[in-house]
């Protein structure tokens, strides 16, 4: 069923339903506001309706990318055109002669003309994509063929090589800086062109199957709610984009709460002080700020199946080191090694992934994940300094290749530390299946929880102290 024949109002309702299906919170009040705004929107403006819907429905930057994607499906011009059999292929304008694509791409990369980019995208999709009507696809393969046909990567690289030569070659004054600036620009323009190609493909999909059906195919949870372990490279980037504000919010929340806590009134001291004023409490005495910063010890499984998860968790925790009086992190596959310094300046998970790969190559390529051994080594390294204020976090799926779990070591750690938390990226139903030994460890943890997404991780850290 296509959604081309529906009324504008109905279209907005379906659009909002799709936002909600993706996890964007839209209340009834906001739905009504959107309708009111749509009524007075400046429809003669290029983005009049988009602006009206965005400012009434989206109340957090984390939801903007979902809004843009869904808006593109429901309100791009092509999606309002009824699907005709001929609509399956993009027909080059009768009056417009076909472009020389190589020259056109080069020109887009040089001066970033939006109009030309759109033309290039349309022609590339027409020439390089074998569109199959009716297939419930997301268009990823189409996008790949169109981009390959355009030779976008190659042409961008050539553009930069030429720019470099034009700047007087290596060593010329300011050459590096200018080259870097050029690189940013060319990359951004290539990205824009890529976006246009995707847009044209989405318009075709919508014309073919209708916005509702395509939206359903493309639907995925918001970045913060997405499963980290299975994220693709592109998804990792999206998740990372929402991670930075989350880090900041987490730090604010935790620090404010701690400050609050130290500000409590000390009743005894207040009464004692009031003796001087005839038992009238003129002077309120507050509790001395306690040194409440906890110490954090992290042990993370970095083996293949959970490497992405480890990259995010360790990056996030390292970014928050100011919240802890002491932070030491350890990573393991077969052997545990301290990585506190390695991760100190790592801010993005992709970088962290590379760091992890180096770490793996250097020490234990091809080894089996060995939880028992790692726990023993971790205990050997930090056991003596663990105390009541220490919190131990273990990140991993507890899949130990049927090697001994050695839970007695965890018991020893647990006796010394104030608390031990196990964060497992697998859903609880998968614990203890196959080689997972969560059961053996669970009893020695203050809590063992499933932690799959940034939202999970955030909730956990917020409750930590």
């Amino acid at each position: 069923m296509t959604s081309s024949g529906i009324s504008p109002l109905e279209r907005i309702h379906r659009f909002i339903d799709e936002l909600r299906a993706r996890g964007v919170p839209v209340s009834m009040v906001e739905r009504l506001d959107a309708m009111r705004a749509a009524k007075i929107a400046e429809l003669d403006q290029a983005d009049g309706l988009r602006t009206a819907l965005r400012c009434t429905l989206i109340k957090s930057p984390d939801h903007l990318s979902a809004f843009e994607e869904v808006y593109g499906l429901y309100f791009s011009p092509a999606s309002r055109r009824p699907a005709t059999p001929a609509g399956y292929s993009v027909q080059p304008d009768a009056v417009r002669p076909p472009l020389d694509l190589e020259r056109a791409v080069t020109s887009v990369l040089r001066d970033g003309s939006a109009e030309l980019a759109r033309q290039v995208a349309e022609q590339a999709v027409g020439e390089f994509v074998q569109f199959e009507a009716g297939r419930p696809v997301a268009g990823v393969m189409y996008e790949r063929s169109a981009l390959a046909g355009l030779r976008l990567e190659e042409l961008a690289a050539r553009q930069l090589a030429e720019a470099a030569a034009g700047l007087g070659g290596p060593g010329a004054p300011g050459q590096r800086l200018r080259l870097e600036l050029q690189r940013t620009e060319v990359t951004a323009r290539a990205e824009y062109l890529r976006g246009q190609v995707r847009k044209v493909i989405r318009e075709l999909l919508v014309a073919d199957r209708g916005a509702d059906a395509v939206a359903k195919t493309l639907r995925q949870p918001l970045p913060a709610d997405r499963d980290i372990s299975t994220a693709s490279r592109e998804q990792m980037r999206e998740i990372h984009r929402v991670m930075i504000p989350i880090e900041r919010k987490l730090a604010t929340t935790v620090m404010r709460r701690r400050r609050h806590r130290t500000g409590l009134i000390d009743v005894r001291a207040t009464l004692r002080a009031s003796m001087a004023t005839g038992a009238v409490p003129m002077r309120i005495v507050h509790r001395k700020p306690r040194p409440t910063k906890p110490q954090l010890y992290v042990l993370a499984d970095m083996s293949g199946s959970v490497a992405t998860f480890a990259a995010f968790t360790v990056t996030l925790v390292s970014a928050m080191s100011q919240l802890f009086s002491r932070l030491r992190s350890f990573a393991f596959i077969t052997d545990a090694a301290e990585v506190t310094d390695v991760f100190r300046h790592v801010r993005d998970p992709e970088h962290a992934m590379a760091t992890i790969r180096d770490f793996v190559n250097a020490s234990q390529l091809g080894g089996y994940t060995d939880y028992g051994r790692a726990l023993r080594q971790f205990h050997g390294a930090v056991g003596a300094e663990l105390e009541r204020r220490s919190t131990v976090l273990i990140f991993g799926d507890a899949r130990g290749n049927y090697l001994p779990a050695e839970e007695a070591t965890l018991a020893r750690i647990s006796r010394r530390a104030g608390s031990v938390y196990w964060l497992n990226p697998e859903p609880q139903a998968q614990w203890n299946t196959g080689d997972s030994t969560m059961r053996a460890y669970e009893g020695y943890c203050t809590a063992a929880v499933t932690c799959r997404s940034l939202s999970d991780l955030r909730r956990f850290i917020e409750r930590l102290d």
Partner: protein
């Protein structure tokens, strides 16, 4: 003085004029030195025409505060500003009873034979009068004899409980004073709230507002902002400067350079009579643009990186 009836007594004043549409807002703001894009201007126009508060969120130094100030200028209305901070409460945001004046009044009234201390205690007769009310920014904006622009700046700094006190103003344009009843707006103020996003604001607050995410301006607009702020600077240098800032914002910095920092650097370069921006100047450049040592190191490393190589 009598108090208005509950509900929305006031009308939206003269919002149509300068706020009629994107183009007029954009032109009007530009006339007051604020360079907006269509997105910003469009949302401001909608907020004014729908009579809803506008919550503006974004990184530091992207022009959130300035937007509210410029809108006030554009509308030729007084700007009433509530600067939020941690620990701010009702008595600083909404109103406070002026107990000194109340005490003075009681002392003065004692001489009067009709004065009854019991009556005062019983129903606050005489002492709970608008004369003794110290209006703070939110109430001031509501009671203003002429239409005003209310700016609640950095609302993410207040705690959730205090935030709840703002809701009545945002939704009903009124303030309830238990001793007096509801004080409603004479004129609907235009309300702007800004946030740096250091905390999640409550759903209740967000529901009542329209939302504008104010990101760093695109290079074209930033060039215009810089050229306007530092008119003497050579165009080629402005281009390069803005491109550099754009590059830096793509790195993973703790604090990416804001528009204010771009302007600061432009001023510095102008003062120094610089004509080009290159790596020999970059330690100065980066130190003006970046606030953290770590960030300077990261940027230095990135900019001195090996020449471009095609991606695998």
């Amino acid at each position: 003085m009598s108090y208005s009836q509950p509900g929305r007594g006031a009308q939206a004043d003269d919002v149509a004029g300068p706020f009629a549409g994107t183009a007029s807002v954009r032109a009007g703001l530009a006339a007051h030195g604020y360079l907006a894009d269509d997105k910003i201007a469009g949302v401001v126009s909608l907020a004014a025409r729908l009579g809803k508060p506008l919550l503006v969120e974004g990184p530091a130094g992207t022009g959130k505060t300035q937007l509210a100030k410029s809108v006030a200028q554009l509308a030729a209305r007084p700007l009433i500003r509530l600067q939020c901070y941690e620990g701010i409460d009702e008595s600083k945001a909404l109103y406070e009873w002026d107990y000194r004046k109340q005490l003075l009044w009681i002392q003065a009234a004692r001489g009067d034979e009709t004065f009854s201390a019991d009556a005062v205690i019983e129903d606050g007769k005489g002492i709970f009068d608008e004369r003794f009310l110290l209006t703070r920014p939110m109430l001031e904006a509501i009671r203003s004899p002429e239409p005003a622009v209310l700016l609640v700046d950095e609302v993410d700094r207040v705690d959730a409980e205090t935030e709840a006190l703002f809701l009545e103003v945002l939704a009903e344009y009124q303030v309830s004073v238990p001793e007096l009843g509801r004080l409603t707006a004479r004129h609907l103020p235009l309300v702007f709230l800004t946030s740096n996003g250091t905390r999640d604001l409550s759903e209740a607050l967000k529901r009542r507002c329209l939302f504008l995410y104010l990101d760093y301006p695109d290079p074209q607009r930033e060039r215009e902002i810089v050229a306007q702020a530092v008119p003497g600077l050579e165009q080629a240098l402005v281009d390069r400067l803005v491109a550099l800032v754009d590059t830096l914002r793509r790195l993973n910095l703790k604090k990416p350079p804001s528009v204010s920092e771009t302007i600061d650097l432009a001023r510095t370069l102008h003062l120094l009579g610089a004509t080009d921006l290159d790596l020999t100047a970059s330690s100065l450049t980066l130190n003006v643009l970046l606030k953290y040592r770590d960030d300077v190191q990261i940027a230095d490393a990135a900019l001195a990186r090996r020449p471009w190589q095609p991606r695998p």
